[in-house]
């Protein structure tokens, strides 16, 4: 199969599954609306909290509220963008632990894509438009920056998805991994919002290696503020590298997977 037809097949599957997931989420209309509206208020409220902290100082080691707005725009665009389409990936470790991967191994599509498309997070429909609002708060909005914003958010999204997979495939080797995964996610998200300029050299190294939140939002936000070819290439390289690593680890872990014999039960 050519790569073009494979791409078409996956794209069609993703669009079809997304449509079904959204239809399923809309079955409970009140909940659907509540989630979207609450998401908008959450984004604004959360940003307000940081505004009270950072805005009062004008600048923290050169970091202003515009930088925070830029990081929020890209960070949320990447994380909530992935949740909107591929929320199922967050259950990967649970599925591995409970032996529920069986159903995803019998189709002519990669199991990760199938797992990712098991559900969507409709609340992201509320937060993504707010990301564009943050972009306006950051200033310098032109057609080019809007296009670049989408490109950086997509790259951030790829990195975030890969990190989620890498963090969760550990469940193939050790059980009871769920809480640790949530903590890793929270910590990674945490470090995105903290002004990068306050970090010590060791902390900066940490955000580029063990908890690479730097590549999800900080670097893309820096590039959005001021483009540098070197930084852009680094981001693309990290996105490709993390994709290769996550797929390799998942495939290696799959060889250790023990079936829960749940075909037909889920």
């Amino acid at each position: 199969m050519s790569s073009w037809s494979a791409l078409r097949k996956y794209s069609r599957f993703i669009l079809f599954s997304f449509g079904r997931n959204m239809a399923s989420a809309m079955e409970y209309r009140s909940s659907f609306v509540i989630q979207i509206v609450s998401s908008i208020f959450f984004c604004l409220g959360f940003f307000a909290g940081w505004y009270f902290l950072i805005g009062a100082q004008q600048s923290i080691n050169g970091w202003t509220i515009a930088d925070t707005a830029r990081v929020f725009a890209i960070g949320w665009g990447a994380i909530d963008g992935s949740s909107l389409f591929f929320y199922g990936i967050q259950d990967l470790s649970v599925m591995i632990n409970s032996g529920k991967l069986d159903n995803f191994l019998n189709y002519p599509l990669h199991p990760l894509v199938l797992i990712a498309m098991t559900k969507c997070r409709p609340s992201s429909l509320g937060s993504i438009p707010v990301c564009f609002l943050f972009l306006f708060v950051a200033g310098d909005v032109t057609l080019l920056t809007l296009v670049m914003y989408i490109v950086y958010s997509l790259l951030g999204m790829i990195v975030w998805m890969n990190l989620l997979i890498i963090a969760q495939v550990g469940a193939f080797w050790t059980g009871g991994f769920d809480r640790l995964i949530k903590q890793i996610m929270f910590t990674m998200i945490n470090s995105i919002y903290i002004p990068y300029t306050v970090f010590s050299p060791v902390a900066r190294l940490l955000t580029k290696t063990v908890l690479p939140s730097f590549f999800i939002a900080t670097l893309p936000a820096q590039l959005l503020g001021r483009f540098e070819l070197e930084g852009f290439l680094l981001l693309v390289a990290f996105a490709i590298g993390s994709t290769v690593l996550s797929l390799t680890l998942f495939n290696a872990g799959l060889k250790r997977y023990e079936s829960g014999n749940l075909i037909g039960n889920s």
């Binding site: 009140s30 609306v33 208020f41 470090s191 903290i194 306050v198």
Partner: protein
């Protein structure tokens, strides 16, 4: 009476044991509190350095970071439990009908279970968080008053959190899918819960309004009482939490009694 107490004590013990079954899950979560505290310590130390008296809104940098450490330790146990989803699932799956015929109070069963699952996680988080706070920012003075006052508020805060979450879960009897409401509740906790930006940094008017809410900030108030005890503030918070505890107890009982009318048991 003693038999009844023993029954709930056993339920507590079962949930406690279940919570400690996966050692990697408990121990694995704690180093990340350390990382979080380490990163936030850099932010608040920088802010403290920028302030003329080294203080932040009347608190020392040490007090701010110890508060964040404690509130993180308390709240992460709430998030880890996914309790409203448990009730929601019990309602949707129909298991509620089976629970109702068992020889225990449905509300008390879940309350004791909620505490049983929370205790080991809180203890592990606080021990590791304390060591991290000592390492990154040094010690603070916690008086016996602050300790016992904080403990009382923590117990009330957990009880109120349970009642609110229980009510949210029971809403599944009317609206079928409660994930929207649960989302609102958890997100409110992220905004005003003090895990990122302590409530003390919020404008005073907003802070006053938040103080009267029965959710979101309660664990922060308990954490702040541990690190910065003021008798007047403590009494104020105790009266607010006491009021909400009693009010929510009545509300929960009322919702539960109304809700179980919708439960229909089918044989098979």
């Amino acid at each position: 009476m003693i038999k009844k107490l023993l029954k709930y004590l056993l339920i507590f013990k079962i949930n406690f044991s279940a919570s400690t079954a996966f050692a990697v899950d408990i121990i694995g979560g704690t180093p990340l509190i350390v990382v979080r505290l380490w990163m936030l310590s850099q932010l608040y130390s920088t802010l403290g350095g920028m302030s003329s008296n080294g203080q932040l809104i009347g608190l020392t940098v040490e007090q701010v970071l110890w508060t964040i450490m404690l509130v993180t330790a308390f709240t992460s146990t709430i998030w880890a439990q996914r309790f409203p989803e448990m009730i929601d699932e019990e309602v949707k799956s129909g298991n509620l009908a089976y629970s109702l015929v068992r020889p225990f109070s449905f509300v008390l069963y879940h309350y004791v279970g909620f505490l049983g699952r929370a205790v080991p996680l809180v203890v592990a988080n606080v021990i590791v968080g304390t060591l991290a706070a000592l390492f990154f920012v040094g010690s603070i003075n916690i008086t016996p008053q602050a300790f016992f006052g904080g403990l009382l508020l923590l117990f009330l805060a957990y009880s109120i959190e349970f009642l609110v979450q229980f009510c949210l879960g029971l809403c599944a009897l009317w609206i079928e899918d409660t994930s929207g409401l649960i989302d609102v509740y958890l997100r409110l906790g992220l905004i005003i819960g003090g895990t990122y930006v302590p409530l003390s940094f919020f404008p005073e008017t907003l802070r006053t309004v938040i103080e009267y809410l029965p959710m979101g900030h309660l664990l922060y108030q308990a954490a702040r009482t541990f690190t910065h005890f003021e008798t007047a503030t403590f009494m104020h918070l105790l009266s607010i939490m006491g009021f909400w505890f009693v009010a929510l107890l009545f509300l929960t009982t009322w919702i539960f009694r109304r809700g179980i009318r919708y439960v229909s048991v089918n044989g098979g």
